[in-house]
């Protein structure tokens, strides 16, 4: 089928269009995306309008020329984990499969604003992973060496070099768990999370993707061994292919197709400080001290907490997680003690037993799944979307996501990245 014509009416964003529109009081900006009524049928229906789902729609349209795509979002687009994460982007994972997957994403980040013509404010300011014990150092060394040989930039810093690179961190040897060293991925950094959803939405919409918000999927229709469509709060929508990309509701949606997943959904919380002038220009992560922190372009310190250890869809967790995260930050950076917590919130993360995602075909013809990213989904957004689009369009995985199957839990070929996240699982 011929691809939907690129919508030439879309305005290009640039300093020139900004200046031109300033002259007319900005009254001539057009909507970044339409709010169309759902059509009765599509070639592909993507369930979930977060960063991953929207990116998938974009690549399906732009790379694979698929027309007739709908993204169904039960709330407002980007309102799930995409709008709640701590925006850290890196690819320095241990296993070959993971490093390749996340670095594929990182390469797409490097140029994403230009490709989408939407500034997602991707800032490659470096990611530090700290080591606080001999066993930390061993694991760090193993990972840094593997990264390097996998073509992922990764350097080892000793304590003195960490102190020089980021003087805010207290590297003195008499702290309870002194910093002994760190890995540094200079190409890692952060981005503006909402902008990623909005940028992909606008670009997908420009290529004819229908983004249907306030549309809850309530059932998946089957005919024998294949899917035929979805039941939604806005009616039945037929589809040749259905792609599930709904972090926080993976099991709920999969259950509509009678499929069980190895996923548990847990609360994950984060917090920001009041905005202050720039003092922290890198990202700091620590497994041992359970902290991760960066300073946003708005000046707020963005701090991530650990998951709450029980299944919950409430998007709320215990105050104790917030206390632990703040305590860890104050321990690492004592001068931050006087900053103030301005707001904390939560999301729902889908945890897989090996802390690695599932991007695969499901055992129903025409049904595809992208999820189980746990605490690491945001950094993978462009890569996940790109690879999921490939999997859907070609009806088979790309070699980069081929290992991330549902079947690996039966065969035992897990990709255990528990050491990777600085978040207690």
């Amino acid at each position: 089928m011929a691809p939907r014509r690129y919508n030439q009416a879309v305005q290009k964003y640039s300093i020139f269009s900004l200046a031109r529109n300033a002259l007319t009081g900005h009254r001539n900006w057009r909507a970044a995306w339409r709010s169309p009524e759902p059509r009765p049928a599509y070639d592909v229906v993507i369930i979930g309008g977060g960063g991953h789902g929207l990116a998938t729609a974009y690549y399906l349209a732009s790379v694979h020329g698929v027309a007739n795509i709908a993204v169904l979002e039960k709330g407002w687009l980007g309102g799930g984990n995409t709008g709640r994460n701590t925006t850290i982007i890196r690819s320095n994972y241990l296993w070959d499969e993971s490093a390749a997957l996340y670095d594929h994403a990182l390469k797409l980040w490097e140029g994403l604003s230009q490709e989408l013509n939407y500034n997602v404010m991707f800032s490659q300011r470096g990611v530090l992973n700290l080591a606080h014990s001999e066993s930390d150092l061993r694991e760090l060394s193993r990972r840094v060496n593997a990264n390097r040989l996998n073509g992922v930039d990764s350097e080892f810093l000793d304590a003195a070099q960490v102190a020089e690179y980021c003087p805010l961190i207290d590297c003195s040897p008499d702290r309870r768990y002194p910093v002994l060293g760190a890995s540094l991925q200079r190409r890692g950094g952060v981005a503006r999370h909402d902008a990623v959803a909005w940028g992909y939405a606008r670009a997908a919409d420009a290529r004819g993707v229908d983004i249907i918000q306030n549309c809850t999927v309530t059932g998946i229709l089957r005919d024998g061994g294949r899917v035929t469509g979805v039941e939604t709060s806005r009616g039945v929508i037929k589809a040749k292919k259905i792609a599930i990309s709904a972090a926080g509701h993976s099991s709920v949606i999969a259950a509509m197709a009678g499929i069980r997943l190895p996923i548990e959904s847990h609360p994950l919380q984060a917090l920001v400080s009041e905005p202050v002038k720039p003092v922290l220009d890198t990202v700091i992560m620590s497994n041992a001290v359970h902290a991760y922190i960066s300073q946003s372009d708005k000046g707020e310190m963005v701090i991530g907490a650990g998951i709450d250890p029980y299944v919950s869809y409430s998007q709320r967790g215990g105050y104790d997680r917030i206390e632990q995260a703040v305590r860890a930050v104050v321990e690492l950076i004592p001068s931050f003690s006087r900053l103030r917590m301005m707001r904390h919130w939560g999301g729902i993360v889908d945890i897989c037993p090996d802390a690695s995602p599932i991007i695969a075909k499901l055992p129903l013809e025409g049904l595809y799944f992208n999820g189980g990213w746990g605490t690491g989904g945001f950094k993978a957004t462009p890569g996940a979307g790109h690879l999921f689009a490939h999997t859907i369009a070609r009806d088979q995985p790309h070699w980069l996501n081929a290992p991330f199957t549902l079947e690996r839990f039966s065969s035992g070929a897990l990709i255990d990245e528990h050491g990777a996240a600085a978040v207690a699982h």
């Binding site: 300033a22 604003s113 060496n145 040989l149 003092v279 001068s335 003690s337 917590m341």
Partner: protein, 996 residues
């Protein structure tokens, strides 16, 4: 220092007997105890104190409380500096020093003011549309964006102050001590319930503190008398705790509420600066009052434009005149009370501009009687003045816009009131639903989900009498629900002018710019309209795109106005948009207060063995193993680590080494089914282990991966002692309990942790037996009586001990376990006994080397949770025929059985002096090829072995056991190092030394 020109001669609750001097922007001013920084600045006629965040417009003091969006200052200097401090809540103290933020080089001449000129280019979300080309300049653009963002400056040094934590339970928590809160507290307290009353202000009374001695009376006296009497009564109740200066900031599940108490309002004390309370309340009464909202009109942000209630507060509570000529702008009756109080204090009220056509209430009547001009059905359509408002323009409302001639009023102060938003933040945090009342345009608490009631202004109560009645009823009911019955309270009679109906006006209907909705983040109605025009139509999208409501004030004065304006533009009803979620904290909370004392040396408990002091005295260098401090090596006389470890390793194989093994986990496993239990938990068989013998065991997860290992002893028919690795002791005990209680409750087995009850001392080496014999002369230690892997009980150095003949080094070894508090004496005795035998204490580092020489894997070093027994070359310990054990089925899965898995092997570098790095990755070729390079495995342990006179290493290599003799290369950043794959044992491969 000038006198305070705008301080009223009398009145206010400030203490005029305690004058204070403070500094603002380098200038000294006078104030009084009881002032806030804001009231003191206003008393000195200082209105222009800040620059707006984006446009850098001059800003002043808009409120008198926590909802302040503009008057943020950098408070204090050096390590105690506090960015973003609200002048309106900063209690004045002698020597207070504050300065404006986010302006350079100074407040009055600020380069950032150029942004105001560029306003058209920088509407909401402009940065998403630009800064993309050229791509390589993004870092430069970002640098300037970051410099422009942020408000105050973070301190550059560690926080010298300390913070405390406290936990408390109570029957009734009353949040807010205004009229409703005091009434609730009195009712609940009178019943005998345990009550905690908190209020964010330093003084109780809430809105009653702003009373100006006007027509409002409670009982027969002024509101102040009611407050004083209530406090006296509450102080007399033994079960009531009063916490002023204490903000309830978070409401969590099951009535868990967090409070922040300020302890430094008189300046830094050297003691605790703040105290964070964690409260579990059986019932909560929220009496959190209401916050006034501004009106939205063009140029509504100039210094001198403030909320009417704030103006009233400055007059009545602080004895300050907010201006000489004031225009009041309102859509409801409460501003009339403010106008009357200002007028009484000497401010000329130029006009009361009321949006309502019909203005019939008692307050307006009183105002007219006082001669104050009232313009009905009118609005302010614009203001003038750069650093202070100096005039407003007024027109009549007509249809959807304005009409008639524009009238200019000269003034230096505007007191505006758009109505009062009930403070429903905590109620919403408790997950209670909110309902919208269209007439007043307010959200009020609806259905509660937890044991909480709302009372008073926060519940939408329209009058003071209602507040008192609701509060009393709520307090009584809450206490009742806790089982404290009492007679229902009676509310005092209240005399107050009636309130007429308010009318909502969400924006003045003129199409002009700079009508601010969010004053802190510089969001105007045009920004909201732009967001909607661009398709960001859900409330959350508008909020995130424009950043409205996302400042340090978290939208206290902005959120409802923003929501209403969005609804109006979209042409829908407000409730259909939903409400953006209220998130904790209610007001910002210092990180240090959240951390409390649990930082620095109290960050995590330190676990030490009973021998720790001895190791310290001996100059040991320690390493962290989990929470434990373990001696890593004992350098003598300026030795390097390498020299010490070499010496210790040589001694262990040539004479005798002594090691503190106390940190290993020890779990007693008792009961008739103990052996059956061990059979299920370990991979090998246990039913045939004799009493007084021990056996090495390997434990797998149910996924078949090595989880922990250790030696388990049989002490008696039904009593075993399991040892675990140091790091996994708690985890293994939890594991055992889980299986026993949830899967195999039919087994009669009991587990008890005895890790800390016993200390364990290890002796190893050719002289070990001889040394032990000196300290334990009555024990038979010969190889026949006490063979390898046997145990005996006896007396060592006069202390009852268990001696286990076991070895992790490959030398003849004895582990002596004694009660922990006897350990030091036994250790010393052994050291004495070994003096003639060159006894050498050795640490974890030498131990690692010695065991590596023998090829013994260490869980957590060789293993990483993904290795099976087969991978470790330990198929010999897996008994697949004894029956089911944890992990058994997983060993026969497709991936677990395949070839090509990584296997434990040894590595010997071609250059014997080169020690490989642990964690080095191994490749097949010496020449670096194209990346990604295929990796054959990684180095898990690597040391210089003094006993072998060369380096050794253990590694996990794909198909390693089939590749013995092959050469691999450790690929370092700058070179590759060749090493040959060997069997994973380097010393005494037949194990002959063990059986001596």
């Amino acid at each position: 220092m000038r006198r305070q020109r705008f301080r009223l001669d009398t009145g206010g609750k400030i203490d005029r007997t305690r004058p204070l001097v403070f500094t603002f922007n380098g200038r000294r001013y006078g104030g009084y105890a009881g002032d806030t920084l804001a009231s003191a600045l206003l008393a000195n006629g200082v209105h222009f104190i800040a620059r707006g965040f984006k446009y850098h417009r001059p800003r002043g003091i808009m409120t008198a409380g926590v909802e302040e969006p503009n008057a943020l200052v950098q408070h204090g200097v050096g390590a105690r500096t506090d960015p973003n401090s609200r002048a309106t809540t900063l209690a004045l103290y002698e020597g207070l020093c504050a300065a404006s933020q986010n302006c350079w080089p100074g407040l009055h001449f600020d380069i950032g003011a150029l942004n105001g000129r560029l306003a058209a280019l920088i509407p909401a979300g402009f940065y998403y549309k630009t800064f993309m080309r050229p791509a390589r300049l993004w870092r430069v653009y970002e640098h300037f964006i970051r410099k422009a963002a942020g408000l105050g400056r973070a301190p550059g040094a560690p926080d010298p102050d300390r913070y405390a934590h406290r936990h408390a339970h109570c029957d009734v928590l009353v949040v807010g001590a205004g009229p409703a809160g005091l009434a609730a507290a009195l009712a609940a307290g009178a019943s005998g319930a345990r009550v905690i009353v908190v209020d964010e202000q330093g003084e109780f009374g809430g809105a009653l503190l702003n009373d100006g001695g006007g027509p409002v009376a409670i009982g027969d006296g002024p509101p102040a008398a009611f407050v004083a009497a209530a406090l006296e009564a509450l102080r007399g109740m033994a079960e009531v705790t009063l916490l002023p200066r204490c903000t309830a900031f978070g409401y969590y599940a099951d009535n868990f509420v967090t409070l922040l108490e300020r302890l430094d309002e008189d300046g830094p004390t050297g003691g605790n600066r703040q105290r964070l309370w964690q409260i579990r309340a059986r019932q909560v009464v929220l009496a959190t009052g209401a916050l006034e909202r501004p009106l939205v009109f063009p140029d509504n942000d100039r210094p001198g434009i403030m909320l009417a209630g704030a103006a009233q507060s400055y007059v009545n509570r602080y004895g300050v005149q907010p201006g000489a000529r004031c225009v009041v702008f309102t859509n409801n009756d409460s501003a009339y009370a403010a106008a009357l109080d200002m007028n009484r204090a000497g401010t000329a009220i130029e006009a009361i501009v009321d949006t309502r056509i019909e203005v019939e209430g008692e307050w307006p009547r009183l105002a007219r009687e006082a001669g104050l001009p009232v313009f009905q059905g009118s609005v302010i359509v614009g203001t003038a003045g750069r650093r202070r408002v100096r005039a407003v323009t007024v027109q009549r409302l007509a249809g959807d816009g304005v009409a008639g001639s524009a009238r200019r009023l000269i003034c230096d102060c505007v007191a505006m009131s758009g109505g009062w938003n009930p403070s429903v933040h905590l109620f919403s945090q408790s997950r209670g639903a909110l309902e919208f009342q269209a007439e007043a345009g307010i959200f009020v608490p609806g259905q509660a989900v937890q044991a909480v009631r709302a009372a008073g202004a926060c519940n939408g109560a329209p009058s003071l009498a209602d507040c008192l009645a609701e509060g009393g009823a709520a307090g009584h009911a809450a206490a009742s629900d806790c089982g404290f019955a009492a007679t229902a309270p009676t509310s005092p009679a209240v005399r107050e002018p009636g309130h007429g109906a308010p009318a909502t006006l969400w924006r003045v209907p003129v199409d002009r710019p700079r009508a601010f909705v969010d004053f802190q983040n510089d969001v105007t109605t045009q920004d909201l309209d732009l967001a909607l025009r661009e398709g960001y139509r859900s409330v959350e999208h508008v909020k995130r795109y424009t950043t409205t409501g996302m400042g340090t004030d978290q939208g206290k004065t902005a959120n409802v106005n923003a929501l209403a304006n969005i609804a109006q533009t979209l042409g829908v009803e407000i409730p259909s948009l939903g409400v953006t979620t209220f998130r904790p904290p209610y007001t910002p909370v210092t990180f240090g207060a959240i951390a409390g004392r649990h930082v620095a040396d109290q960050y995590d408990p330190v676990r030490q063995t009973p021998l720790h002091g001895w190791h310290e005295d001996r100059g040991a260098v320690f390493e962290d193993v989990g929470q434990w401090k373990r001696a890593r090596y004992y350098p003598l006389d300026g030795e390097t680590m390498r020299q010490a470890v070499d010496r210790e390793g040589l001694a262990a194989r040539s004479s005798v080494g002594i090691l503190d093994y106390s940190t290993l986990g020890k779990i007693e496993i008792c009961g008739p089914d103990a052996a059956r239990f061990l059979n299920r938990v370990y991979t090998n068989g246990w039913t045939k282990l004799a009493v007084d013998r021990c056996r090495y065991g390997l434990m797998l997860g149910d996924d078949g991966m090595a989880m922990d290992d250790g030696v388990t002893l049989r002490l008696a028919e039904d009593r075993y002692l399991m040892t675990t690795t140091t790091g996994n002791a708690a985890r293994v005990l939890n594991w055992l309990e889980e299986w026993l209680q949830t899967e195999w409750p039919e087994l009669a087995v009991y587990c008890t942790s005895v890790t800390e009850q016993y200390a364990t001392i290890s002796l190893c080496g050719p002289k070990a037996r001889a040394v032990l014999a000196i300290a334990a002369p009555d024990l038979a230690l010969d190889a026949a009586t006490l063979p390898h892997m046997a145990l005996a009980e006896g007396v060592v150095a006069g202390v009852a001990a268990r001696i286990l003949r076991v070895s992790f080094t490959g030398e003849v070894g004895f582990e002596i376990s004694v009660a922990a508090d006897s350990a030091l004496g036994v250790w010393r005795a052994l050291m004495d006994a070994g003096a003639a035998h060159d006894i050498t204490p050795y640490g974890t580092e030498a131990m690692h080397v010695l065991r590596a020489e023998k090829g013994y894997a260490i869980v957590g070093q060789e293993t990483d949770g993904t290795m099976t027994p087969g991978d470790l070359g330990m198929d010999w310990i897996v008994n697949m025929t004894k029956g089911d054990f944890i992990g058994r089925r997983s060993l026969t899965r497709a991936d677990t059985e395949r070839s090509g898995r990584k296997q434990l092997v040894g590595l010997l570098t071609e250059d014997p002096d080169t020690v490989l790095a642990e964690g080095a990755q191994l490749v097949a070729s010496a020449e670096p090829g194209p990346l990604p390079a295929a990796m054959s495995g990684h180095v898990t342990s690597s040391y210089h072995s003094a006993n072998l006179g060369r380096s050794i290493a253990l590694a996990m290599v794909r198909n390693g056991r089939a590749r013995i003799g092959e050469t691999l290369f450790a690929a370092m950043a700058d070179r590759t190092i060749a090493a040959v794959i060997t069997e994973p044992v380097f010393f005494d491969p037949k194990g002959e030394r063990l059986h001596g």
